[in-house]
Symmetry: C2
Subunit: 159 residues, 2 copies
């Protein structure tokens, strides 16, 4: 079990590294810069911040850690593309939401053991999980870390 946890910790460390890099970048970008498109005709920085916040917020329920905190972000930042909803939350609000959802996740992550990481996430049935044990909470963390890295690379272009 100790060795399993050691391996899992490497995955959690990578999540924390990406999150730290994203937070540093966000602290360096002004609210004005967030209003810019990452490339001509592409998503704005603020949309990516809202999108990442909504996706990480959804992790709270997907990992069985509680209720999604800001469900109002889902229609704006997950179900519809950028520049289709006129009235979106301000950068100030999104920055605060972003900090909050990651704080909630990390408070849980710091206490989870290997068995908990390898247990099923809430979108898979108990029956399917027997056949597909890789559909566990660790896999959600792995794929969301990649998702964060993907958009972090894009947000870097705003500098």
């Amino acid at each position: 079990m100790e060795k399993q946890f050691f391996i899992i910790q490497q995955v959690v460390d990578n999540w924390n590294t990406q999150l730290k890099a994203a937070n540093k970048l966000l602290s360096e970008l002004s609210d004005d810069q967030l209003m810019h498109e990452i490339a001509p005709g592409k998503n704005r920085g603020i949309y990516l911040l809202g999108h990442l916040t909504a996706v990480h917020d959804h992790m709270i329920s997907l990992l069985g850690l509680g209720e999604t905190l800001y469900p109002e972000l889902i229609p704006i930042f997950i179900r519809t593309p950028d520049k289709t909803v006129a009235d979106i939350p301000s950068a100030t609000i999104l920055r605060a939401n972003w900090i909050k959802v990651n704080d909630v996740l990390n408070a849980h992550f710091s206490k989870m053991n290997a068995d908990q990481w390898l247990s099923k996430h809430s979108s898979v049935s108990a029956e399917d999980f027997i056949k597909e044990p890789h559909r566990n909470k660790l896999n959600v963390l792995i794929s969301r870390t990649t998702h964060l890295a993907n958009h972090f690379g894009q947000l870097l272009l705003l500098k």
Copy 2:
């Protein structure tokens, strides 16, 4: 050991997923598109392809799997920024190099066991590795998967 390998396999699967997505994108981008900047004044697609190829190529030696195949890429795509070296390899050559380095890596990855993944990479000394056992081959894979995702997000902007 089996459970350890199961966890490691999730990390390897994520690498394969990112690589597959990158290869699909590269197959959809023309050589002309690769010559474009991902955003005004930023790296060109061809530079990112060369950069990713050089970084993955370096993994071969870092993971103790053999010699770097294309060391000539290092000064162009790692040591210097884009648009500073006039004469760079063609997209045709870089696409072939990219396929080759990943084929070499994956031929090894498909045979590595948990102990091998958790053994030290070649940039850490045996003494330091005793104190810092996370500096293992799995960690190289985790960080390079994130690196790939980072630039994949940028290459997507060329579409």
